[in-house]
Assembly symmetry: C2
Homo-oligomer: 208 residues x 2
Amino acid sequence: MQEIPEPSKRRLVLLSRLLTDRAVKNITSVQIESLTGWSANLVRKDISLLGVKCGASNGYKVQELKEALDKALGTGSEKQKCCIVGLGRMGQVLLDNAELEESAFKIVAGFDSNVNRTEVLRSVFPLHPTTMLESVIKEEGISWAILTVNSEEAQELATRLAVCGIKGIVNYTPCILSLQKEVAIENVCLLTALETLVAMKKDMAAVF
Amino acid sequence: MQEIPEPSKRRLVLLSRLLTDRAVKNITSVQIESLTGWSANLVRKDISLLGVKCGASNGYKVQELKEALDKALGTGSEKQKCCIVGLGRMGQVLLDNAELEESAFKIVAGFDSNVNRTEVLRSVFPLHPTTMLESVIKEEGISWAILTVNSEEAQELATRLAVCGIKGIVNYTPCILSLQKEVAIENVCLLTALETLVAMKKDMAAVF
DNA sequence: ATTTGTGAACAGTTTCACAGCG
DNA sequence: CGCTGTGAAACTGTTCACAAAT
């Protein structure tokens, strides 16, 4: 009994996505290789970590594999509650984002320090002033946060979210958030992503 | 002479960010550890890969370290040209994104298959119909793309970008893009980020 | 016959321990 | 003498090769 490696988890999340809406009944590790670029060997190893055997001479059964993935990834069961912190331009786009419609996630609250916004903006879930952050997160049992505030507020609000017991933050700000390692962070800011692309493509020879 | 490991590159990108606008002259690996969660040993190893020696008994010289990072990461020199593909709600938010203002990146073109949008929307750089994608990218010498189209168009446009010789794509769509591995991809879609957070926090025990 | 599943070998990454330097 | 810089050790993740399964 061992823990699934982090790189494998990241690939398995994407594999689950790859399998959704796929019309075929079966898929082989070689087909997955050609779709993702991960070696067929690696794909098989990753899947074997799930502890299910849903493949044979004609490849994996897509349906069974998808179910095993969702179960292992925690994406299958009931809806995970999220909140949006920061209702500026980016936050507003994510507010009524159809993307999450058929997903395992549900946004149940929005916050902004500008009361004008929380009163004027319309959404299917309630919007609150940031002063209510702690109480609403506790009452609603929110586990995940989407951070779309401006840079000046980012660390302070991240800290408050962490104190609330939030399990993870999707960070749209360019700030490096300093939090205890129990809080997972995914940095999705455009600038960071672009810089990472450049670093990946650059042949950075270590000088040795 | 060896290549810098990918995990190190990703950390170094974030380290560079951490150092910007930092008022202090010096910073130690232990301070970086407390800000980032990476062990001080790892921080020193990462920095040593740059081949510069900018630290001593009172820590690293922030200025020198920052310069070495930007040089190694390719983020220091002249502006990198980017384009936005897809001018829906997300694309529009990124259009006049102040975030890139003082960065190494410059958006020089936007594309959308809806000519209404390319004609009505205002921005400091020109907007073109998607039919112009190949010619504009070639003429402008654009290296990086920000993909904000809807899911249906994502793979087709990614393929066209790859054919143009684009070096990397920041993927805002929930699609898994299939491209030759010369094209770097950073997935920043909200759904993927949330699913990754859940997977990271879940104690996924491999069944052995 | 073809493809999975997996232990063992290999490669990559991180940690450790301590020499060297300001 | 505290902190960096770095080989060597320990650990983690990937590839390989082939037995098992259908």
